[in-house]
């Protein structure tokens, strides 16, 4: 029973806690720090008072996610999970939550931001007196940060954490990012990397002549469109999110949609995964339901690929990929999402996908001609306004 814990090292940490006056921090940061201190105070107060410290964390589960039909977005419910310290299942998570809280406070006070991985490493160490790590993998760390976001009601940016950059943008727009003016029309073949934090405080829009945003699933497709100067010809902004778009990309699309009133038109694969990406862009996701109001784009449009295209576009058998059992299962799940289930067109779309028994990728269109998708398929559909909503 001879664990030698805090006493020695704590005296070390007690001394340097000459906390920077909160007043020095920007107002937004001060607010976040206040929330963190509130959390720590709760823990210490309860402990000293002989009560078990418990952190309450809003549940990020499907059961606690509500479909707001009026707004057309997913919203998080009120259910919360208790995370008591003295429970074998949650003891470690409790400790990790507190560690991350302390890490974040440090970040804010130093006016730095860190990646998810950076925070993981900052908080990772060996638990005093044992051989156990506070965190073993980043997979343990990331959900704890999300827990903090929801339980503190603070956005990730407010916690000074960013995700790795993913997704690119090119098009008829000028963007001001941290004061630097970025002309998205002169981005060469690589495009502008969409940063993880795109809040108005960091990023503002300059001159924009684009009439809509064309969002494609992956960078390979995006390359095709960029190479064919699609955005120039059709006067639009061209983005991709590298599969399921990260928060930065979604937030940027949402702002383009909300602030510049640009329609968001998606070109995604014709498979359950493509449908799911569209669903996330449009309604938000379960795990980030608390951020839906900032991320969801209820009027985003799904242009293709459509399950009817195999016949409509006279595509060859070569582009077919058989649906796996998993795909079928997933498609049925998606079909049951209320926003799809209530939409006649979407019901038909998924029914046809299942009936076809195969899926189609955007890249597969190359089978019909290298620039078929950019020169014929998308322009035709845009003209015909043939999309799903």
């Amino acid at each position: 029973m001879a664990r030698k814990p805090a006493p020695k090292s704590s005296s070390k940490t007690t001394a340097p806690t000459t906390r920077k006056p909160v007043g020095k921090l920007p107002e937004r940061d001060a607010k976040t720090v206040g929330k963190l201190v509130g959390l720590a105070d709760m823990v210490s107060k309860r402990s000293m008072g002989g009560k078990e410290p418990v952190i309450q964390i809003p549940l990020r589960t499907r059961t606690n996610t509500n479909w707001n039909k009026k707004k057309g977005i997913l919203e998080m419910g009120d259910a919360k999970a208790d995370r008591p310290l003295f429970d074998l299942k949650t003891a470690k998570q409790f400790m990790q939550t507190m560690l991350h809280a302390s890490t974040i406070k440090d970040l804010i006070e130093q006016g730095k931001t860190s990646s998810l991985r950076g925070v993981f490493y900052k908080a990772k160490h060996t638990v005093a007196g044992t051989k156990e790590n506070t965190f073993d993998t980043q997979d343990e760390s990331d959900p704890i940060l999300e827990d903090l976001e929801v339980s503190l009601g603070a956005l990730r940016e407010e916690l000074h954490i960013f995700a790795s950059t993913r997704g690119n943008l090119v098009g008829n727009i000028t963007i001001i990012d941290k004061g630097d003016e970025i002309n998205a029309r002169r981005m060469g073949s690589g495009g502008w990397g969409i940063p993880s934090i795109v809040e108005p405080s960091t990023l503002q829009f300059g001159k924009c002549d684009a009439k809509f945003v064309l969002h494609v699933e992956k960078d390979t497709v995006w390359q095709r469109f960029n190479e064919d100067r699609f955005w120039e010809e059709h006067n639009c902004i061209l983005t991709h999110g590298g599969g399921q778009p990260p928060r930065g990309c979604r937030r940027l699309l949402q702002r383009l949609n909300q602030e510049l009133k640009l329609p968001i038109i998606c070109v995604l694969d014709c498979d359950p995964w493509g449908h799911y990406i569209y669903s996330v862009i449009k309604q938000g996701s379960i795990s980030l339901a608390f951020e839906s109001s900032r991320l969801a784009i209820p009027d985003a449009k799904f242009l293709g690929i459509r399950s009817k295209d195999y016949e409509a576009c006279d595509l060859g058998d070569a582009i077919k990929i058989d649906l796996t059992d998993n795909d079928i299962k997933r498609a049925k799940e998606i079909a049951a999402y209320p926003w799809f289930a209530e939409n006649r067109h979407w019901r038909k779309e998924i029914e046809l996908l299942l009936k076809n028994g195969f899926k189609m990728e955007v890249e597969a269109m190359i089978n019909k001609g290298i620039s078929y998708v950019t020169e014929e398929y998308v322009p035709q559909r845009l003209k015909a306004k043939d999309w799903l909503e």
């Binding site: 029973m1 940490t13 002989g50 400790m95 507190m98 809280a101």
Partner: protein, 780 residues
């Protein structure tokens, strides 16, 4: 007569068949020629030819059997005379220069005891005749039964080496000892005495200088001293044999004998080398672990003994080794209760035996009445029962035996089986006893849990018997191997033919899975366990004359199983409890581990006092795990109550060796890898009491003394003077070379509850409890 007739008939049929085989030769033998060869067979001759029946199948077993028979006799003799046995076994290698590859060689086995000795005129009979003895014609519990053993050993020696048995026996302390050498004549089953004189060389002095070990022990009066052997007998037999350690060896036999006979002190001087290499057996018992340890042990022991015999007695009750000589010290100082001879119990007697008994009684006294016969010749038959039986077969109380016809006898037999009788008297049996069993196991097996149980006596074939079982679990025992079964009958270890033995069958038939142990079907349970079974009976039914296995009577096996189950239940309770404690301990560990981190994180965020927060959380963690403890106990209330009781009086010893390192001192080296144990419960506290005593058993606390030397060298013993008494031994120790163990931190001394180890051993073990010796002069 009838034999001759039968063989004659056989020959006749041979002859009638002959013509058919068309053989040219005449009849091979005639009734007359065969009759000339037919004669009496002497018992000795028979066994000389069939020596495997007596346990002399091979040279290695011959050595064991010789030692075994001699030791059995010595212990029996001592106990009958009411002497605490002190037995010395010496095996001398008579051909030390033999090639290394030699499988067998010549040894001289000498067994000396401090028994009552043998009067001169009986020496030839005792040692020189087969089937001569005091034990065959009675129903009394003893090790020997038939009177074959020692004579057979002498006979084997004579056959293999031609050397006679040498006997020194001293029946009176004030008189000289007899020195007799005798060789057995197998033809006549009589001994031939070759040397017969008086000598004052008892105990034989030459052994004292045999090896460095014996010299060392003899110097401190611990080896064949005149004080310990005022009377006694020593017998030396030269024989072709093979000495080899491991299973079924003399070493094992003596180890086990020491376990089953904690009242005996046994000294063993093995030959200088083993016969031929053999893969080392798993060392079950902790004999000779670590040369340094054994050395200091013996040294401190010898320091103590010159002062008072009491000190020597109170010395660590653990096997010691000095220069190759193994000493199994006495663990208890009470003899087993004297057993009484009894008459057979009617229950389970056979018709033939009843008829025989009637016949004998009639021969004894022509006028013997049936009523008296029943009362006299059977145990537990009261006058009223006897009258009842007489009435039941249509006889009166005065009916004479001679008037009973066969039909009536048969009826009597049936009546006797059905009549309600109390079980046979128990004073004919001397079970080892729960306390002694535990002491024996504790002495010989280094485990963490010991349980023992003694069944009530029962009867098989009219003979009372009693079964005892003990289990040692955990500790240094190997966990991945089948449990070891050690078997005893009337305190004699049984080493061979395990699978033929009733006790082994009882072990395999007991459902050990009920007690949280692995148990392959039809096998021995797997686990760090030693299972001991003892059967005490006025007549142990062995499967053969070599007394290696107990015959498989249903009644016996049933009792054995019940005894094992009782021990098993105790073990199961302990294991469950231990598992629970471990879980709780782990749980607390988990919490404690994280509390420090949380306190620091909170401190970093809000500046709260990390130490205060840590203490507050620690307090809660303790409470939480304590609460969980209680809850678990309420679910199975019996668990806690029982285990507490168990360790207090139910024949259980738990040796928790998870003492803090400070208390453990430098003996902790082999205790490092112990499982974490949770907080201390009442049961644990009780166990720790035992541990306190056990600590004395171990060299650890004695080792602790030399560690004081650094301070002692600097300044005189003054600082310690307040810790009362016992200066001389320490002073004796001080000039010795420094111990190999490192000096403990100063606070170790304060932490140790009793700084004077020499005083503590005056405790004795009783029903699993520690009892100060002085308050407890005689336990039986």
């Amino acid at each position: 007569m009838s034999t001759a007739h039968l063989s004659g008939a056989a020959v006749a049929s041979e002859i009638t068949r002959k013509p058919m085989s068309k053989s040219k030769t005449g009849p091979r033998a005639t009734a007359e020629s065969m009759a000339s060869k037919q004669r009496d067979i002497s018992v000795s001759e028979f066994f000389a030819k069939n020596r495997h029946l007596l346990g002399f199948d091979n040279p290695r077993k011959a050595l064991l059997t010789t030692v075994k028979e001699a030791v059995d006799n010595s212990l029996d003799a001592c106990e009958e005379a009411g002497i605490l046995p002190d037995v010395t076994v010496i095996i001398e290698d008579l051909q030390p220069d033999r090639p290394a590859s030699a499988k067998a060689t010549r040894y001289r086995v000498t067994v000396a005891d401090n028994g009552p000795g043998i009067v001169r005129k009986q020496v030839e009979n005792v040692f020189g005749r087969l089937l001569f003895g005091s034990k065959f014609h009675r129903l009394k519990m003893s090790r020997g039964q038939q009177g074959i053993g020692i004579s057979a050993a002498g006979m084997y020696g004579l056959i293999t080496t031609g050397k006679p048995m040498v006997i020194h026996t001293k029946p009176k302390a004030s008189q000289q000892a007899h020195h007799i050498e005798l060789a057995m004549n197998t033809k006549t089953n009589r001994a031939e005495v070759t040397v017969d004189n008086e000598t004052d060389d008892f105990p034989p002095r030459r052994f004292k200088t045999l090896t460095s070990g014996t010299r060392e022990l003899a110097d401190s009066e611990q080896f064949l001293s005149d004080r310990d052997y005022p009377t006694g007998t020593s017998v030396s037999i030269e024989l072709e044999a093979r000495y080899q350690k491991g299973r079924g060896s003399v070493d094992e036999f003596l180890e086990l004998t020491a376990i089953a006979n904690p009242h005996a002190r046994i000294t063993f001087v093995p030959p200088s080398k083993e016969s031929a290499p053999e893969e080392d057996d798993t060392p079950l018992l902790r004999k000779g672990r670590g040369g340094v340890q054994a050395g200091t042990d013996a040294a401190s022991n010898s320091d103590a003994s010159p002062e008072s015999p009491e000190a020597a007695e109170a010395a660590p009750v653990v096997t010691l080794e000095t220069g190759g000589v193994t000493v199994y010290p006495r663990a208890v100082t009470e003899l087993p209760p004297e057993t009484k001879e009894i008459q057979p119990h009617p229950r389970g007697i056979e018709l033939g035996i009843l008829l025989q008994m009637l016949k004998e009684a009639q021969a004894e006294r022509e006028t013997y009445s049936l009523h008296n016969f029943l009362q006299d010749k059977f145990s537990r038959v009261s006058a009223s029962t006897a009258s009842g039986c007489c009435r039941a077969i249509g006889a009166t109380a005065r009916t004479k035996i001679s008037d009973i016809d066969h039909a009536q006898a048969e009826k009597l037999f049936k009546v006797l089986q059905d009549v309600k009788l109390p079980p046979p008297p128990t004073d004919c049996l001397a079970p080892i006893g729960v306390r002694q069993l535990l002491a024996g196991m504790l002495k010989g097996v280094r485990a963490e849990f010991y349980a023992a149980s003694s069944r009530e006596p029962d009867v098989y074939r009219g003979r009372p018997f009693q079964v005892e079982a003990a289990i040692a679990f955990g500790g240094d025992l190997r966990a991945d191997e089948p449990a070891r079964v050690i078997r005893f009958a009337n305190r004699v270890p049984l080493l061979y033919q395990q699978s033929a033995c009733s006790s082994f069958k009882a072990v395999t038939e007991t459902n050990w899975r009920n007690y949280d142990l692995q148990h392959p079907r039809g096998g021995v349970p797997i686990g760090a366990m030693v299972i001991m079974i003892h059967m005490a009976s006025v007549w142990v039914p062995f499967t053969s004359e070599s007394k290696e296995a107990v015959a498989d009577y249903d009644e016996i096996r049933k009792e054995m199983k019940l005894a094992l189950q009782e021990c098993g239940r105790k073990l199961g309770t302990y294991l469950k409890k231990r598992a629970k404690m471990r879980r709780e301990g782990e749980r607390r560990d988990v919490f404690q581990k994280y509390i420090g981190e949380i306190a620091q994180a909170c401190n970093a965020i809000s500046g709260v006092d990390a130490e205060a927060l840590y203490e507050a959380l620690l307090e809660q963690a303790k409470k939480k795990t304590a609460v969980a403890d209680l809850e678990l106990d309420e679910d199975g209330k019996a668990i806690r109550d029982k285990s507490t009781d168990v360790s207090d009086e139910d024949g259980v010893i738990i040796v928790e060796r998870a003492t803090p390192p400070a208390e453990r001192g430098n003996a902790g080296k082999d205790l490092e890898d112990l499982p974490p144990v949770g907080r201390m419960s009442r049961a644990e506290a009780a166990a720790l009491k035992v541990h306190a005593m056990r600590g004395d058993d171990e060299p650890s606390l004695i080792d602790a003394k030399p560690t004081k030397r650094p301070e002692q060298k600097g300044r005189p013993a003054k600082p310690r003077a307040d810790t009362k008494g016992d200066e001389p031994p320490r002073a004796a120790l001080a000039p010795k070379p420094a111990a190999s163990s490192p000096a403990p931190k100063p606070q170790t001394r304060q932490a140790a509850p009793e700084p004077i180890p020499r005083q503590k051993p005056k405790m004795t073990l009783r029903d699993g409890k520690l009892v100060p010796k002085d308050e407890d002069p005689g336990l039986f």
